[in-house]
Assembly symmetry: C2
Homo-oligomer: 142 residues x 2
Amino acid sequence: MTPHSGSPECEYSVRPIGSVRSPLRSPADAPKQGSEGAPDAWIDVHEQHVEGLQGLRPGQEVVVITWLHQARRDLLRVHPRDDRTAPLAGVFATRSADRPNPLGLHPVTILQIDGRHLEVGPLEALDGTPVLDIKPVLSRER
Amino acid sequence: MTPHSGSPECEYSVRPIGSVRSPLRSPADAPKQGSEGAPDAWIDVHEQHVEGLQGLRPGQEVVVITWLHQARRDLLRVHPRDDRTAPLAGVFATRSADRPNPLGLHPVTILQIDGRHLEVGPLEALDGTPVLDIKPVLSRER
């Protein structure tokens, strides 16, 4: 019997559509969030996905979704912001990179587009981080 | 040689941490975005991930990340909002479900928490949609 689409036995595979090129080389250098002094960076989109960029333009706000490949996937509780004096919190109540599916969400502005290369910022992701998706930002009204 | 973390040959696997329980049963019923009249819905978090919810509370705004398991992954250009009179746009310039890694981002408010079950809204995801992650919303200042 095929497991239900959302069951814990299901597994789906993601593949990078590009990767981050950044002066940030180690987690020690990286701010926790883009708004905390992160640099601008480039996203190098793979050749086979370049057609998907059509319609993006400088000045636009987008969300970049990354795969935080250096994260731990076996933690369900963490000390927020790596502060070991802070009480443990569930990973879904934090933005910790350590979580079962280590997806990073980065709201950035597109600064320039050069073919398949997008300059964006501010971006706290490390150099070499896989990029899984880029989406335009929608405002939320309820 | 191991491929570079962000190279197109790399593949990472994601597993649902839960799934959506919603009155929305077919794509024809679903609004394009949560703000367009989507109903409230439940997220049933799997037993093994319940510890990760610690610290979440009703009233909080979170982003739910889903896996849009019914989407097409082979499209790089689409007609925005399924309007076939609209010019084709790159999928990364749209919020189309059809994209190489069909990740859905849903900003919602937590309405109530009952053990491993979270009522959230508004949520345009279909019943049975796998949930990959839940993250608190950060305001962005640049």
